[in-house]
Amino acid sequence: MAPRAHLALRRPEWSRGEHPVVNVPFIEISSVRKSFPARGGGAVSVLSGIDLAIAENEFVSLVGRSGCGKTTLLNIIAGLEAASGGSVAIAGRPVTGPGQGQGVVFQQHALFPWLAAVDNVGFGFRNAGLSKRQRRARSMELLRLVGLQAAATKYPRELSGGMQQRVSIARALALDPQILLMDEPFGALDELTRIELQQELLRIWQARRKTVVFVTHSINEALILSDRIVLLAANPGRIKRIFEVGMERPRSRTAPSFNALYEDIWNELSS
């Protein structure tokens, strides 16, 4: 895409050099603040001065200690929570609510307990003008993608935590959103399933040209998946440092550059 002058972002420091990824901000987060009312009056500041521009088709991970505001930031991008200050825009349009192309995988799976797995996945199809059979076929296809076709008729309470998590990933993919906001989507999975789904997510991301904002506690996972890794610091939540992952995909977990970057992020995180 040709950079448009009025939208072109002053290229940030990290991207000078070999990997000019960002030139048109697709998701533009400007000076976002968030505070919650504190018990006994006053307010606690949870996010302060978040500035982040995410390009179309970019894969960005958010890492940081528990409680630093990752979910809150994701909710603001999703339009589910209003920022206390600053703004978020998607493709130049200010985010005023959900449904502007954001699909969300929640940290708590938030499946509808009264619907079987396949109907949870197909929930959003209702307004998409598909017949019941087409909806079911598409839902089954997505369940197969996350390895759960055998559990299609099970209800959420009959599924394990990891299975529920996979259903909610399938549900978010169902509407084929432009933007995928994923909050620790692979947190409850065994190592093997996790790696399989990482590969699957990368495949979908590349094939369907999605923009992904991905929250994880695993530096490893962030390194395997992302173009950039945004490290947040807590109290109040702010961007501490942004790492560019310049490696070709598929990435090797044992490559020296992989380990060097791991080391960097680890040091920054724990300092």
Binding site: N75, A78, L80, G97, P98, G99, Q102, G103, V104, F106, Q108, A110, L111, F112, P113, W114, L115, F123, G124, R126, N127, Y155, P156, R157, R171, A172, L175
Partner: protein, 259 residues
């Protein structure tokens, strides 16, 4: 122990049946051996005999039909109104702010306390009983529906919103199903209360129905047998209908809710 015996032992229903049967047997024996006065407390078999001598099946059937008609219509409307108002009060903030204090004010009044007013307002005919039964169903249902709506997991509403729902579709496709288990509990409690209120209202002011049948027998100096059979019939009817509601609830939400 063989499998059948084990299954019987393990089944709640079987235990209950054995208990009930035992109680009836003790009662029968007590009455026959003269331990209790059969004129006041006839044995079950004797009570049925006495009732059969005084009433035709048709009379009993007619009274039963009236009672059922009243409770179904009064409960049906009371529960529907309760569900609609409870759900609306839980969903629409302003409406809830207006409706809730009113409901809380009226809710503690036992439905039977309305009988004198109901008679003044509606006379002795059907509408006054209908009104009392309506109240019996309305308050438990409206309260539980409201409570159910207020305790919906906000994550579910958010999930619905991210899938493009808002307003009325969000209400019907997410909020109402999420509140359904609480609503079902209210419906069941409301049914029991409606039923109790029905019989009480028929005892006080009616010229037909099961409640009327037993109080009339007492007032005209008839037989204790009719009264006992009438009471048992009321109990049995409530038992069967309550079990039916329980089974319907289980079918409706049992698998996903785990009750």
């Amino acid at each position: 122990m063989n499998a059948l015996a084990r299954r019987l032992r393990d089944s709640d229903l079987a235990v209950g049946a054995v208990g009930a049967f035992g109680l009836v047997a003790i009662w029968e024996i007590a009455a026959r051996t003269g331990l209790v006065d059969p004129q006041l407390f006839p044995s079950p078999l004797l009570a049925i005999e006495m009732a059969a001598a005084r009433l035709t099946a048709e009379t009993v059937g007619e009274n039963l039909a009236w009672s059922l008609f009243r409770v179904f219509s009064g409960f049906g409307l009371g529960a529907s109104a309760g569900a609609v108002i409870g759900i609306a009060a839980g969903w629409y903030r302003t409406f809830g702010m207006i409706a809730r204090p009113l409901i809380e004010l009226l809710r503690p009044i036992p439905p039977l306390a309305w009988i004198p007013l109901a008679i003044i307002w509606f006379g002795l005919g059907e509408p006054s009983k209908f009104f009392i039964i309506f109240l019996g169903a309305f308050f438990p249902v409206v309260t539980s529906a409201y409570h159910g709506m207020r305790s919906i997991d906000p994550m579910l509403l958010r999930a619905g919103q991210t899938m493009g729902l808002g307003g009325v579709p969000l209400l019907f496709r997410v909020a109402v199903p999420a509140a359904a288990p609480d609503l079902a509990t209210g419906v069941r409690i409301g049914w029991g209360l409606s039923f109790g209120v029905l019989v009480a209202a028929e005892l006080v002011a009616a010229d037909r129905g099961l409640g009327y049948m037993i109080i009339n027998e007492r007032n005209t100096g008839g037989s204790v047998g009719v009264i006992i059979v009438g009471i048992l019939l009321i109990g049995l009817l409530n038992l069967v209908t309550d079990a039916a509601i329980g089974a319907a609830t289980k079918r409706w939400i049992g698998r996903w809710h785990g009750t």
